[in-house]
Symmetry: C2
């Protein structure tokens, strides 16, 4: 039986996970990459080095984050959260969320960690996806 | 160190996995869902019940399949394969690929299995993504 997740179940799934797949549109094609994220109930926060994903999101800010818990073939839950990309440039907000991300994912690359600690040249992109809609499905066997 | 996967490494990763995330464009927004797939070196084959993903792919046939192997935070590989959606209507090809999918994923839903066995009314959608480009990244620590 495949059934819809309630809003609460979908929110809980987003809260208890930290690995998802970010979908965006690059050159009129879908583009999907795995990301670590932090969710505060309204937005997800993600850090990234500049590259294809950032270029795509700047051009087409509509994004989605798909997160699932797959136990086995017939037992899974999957949530998709749609929202808009916002690049966080403000130094105070950057410092705050980078610290949170660093606490949760202590293995930021050495370059990234150094940037956080020394507040050096801005090379790490920090962005939010402000969630507008969350839906989810589950199958139970 | 993040590095590009060679074409061979990317192909091997697609071959040895069977769970990926399918990206498509639905109403001008990216849409991502987990799927089981079968890869024959040229195309991936996926079955699905009708729904949002199929409606989106019919309208905008450019799709991608993202597949990853994430060991831990700093040790992962991820591949993205871009290609075009083709719905398989021909009964002989349908029967062939559905049998392959059923062998690999014995837990098609009862409805789907019955359709395969009895060649009953066509409700299960079988489609291919014909791969045009494969790229991948890895991080090793």
């Amino acid at each position: 039986m495949i059934a819809k997740l309630s809003e609460e179940e979908a929110q809980e799934l987003l809260q208890r996970n930290e690995l998802g797949r970010l979908g965006c549109i690059a050159d009129d094609r879908p583009y999907v990459v795995p990301v670590n994220y932090l969710y505060d109930g309204d937005s997800v926060y993600i850090h990234s080095l500049p590259g294809r994903k950032i270029a795509a999101l700047r051009r087409h800010p509509q994004a989605c984050l798909q997160v699932d818990e797959i136990e086995r073939e017939r037992s899974w839950r999957s949530v998709i959260a749609f929202g808009r990309y916002e690049e966080i440039g403000d130094e105070q907000r950057r410092a705050y969320y980078l610290k949170q991300l660093l606490r949760r994912f202590p293995h930021l690359t050495p370059v990234e960690s150094r940037l956080v600690i020394n507040a050096g040249p801005v090379e790490v992109i920090l962005f939010a996806i402000h969630i507008e809609e969350v839906t989810g499905l589950k199958e139970e066997w």
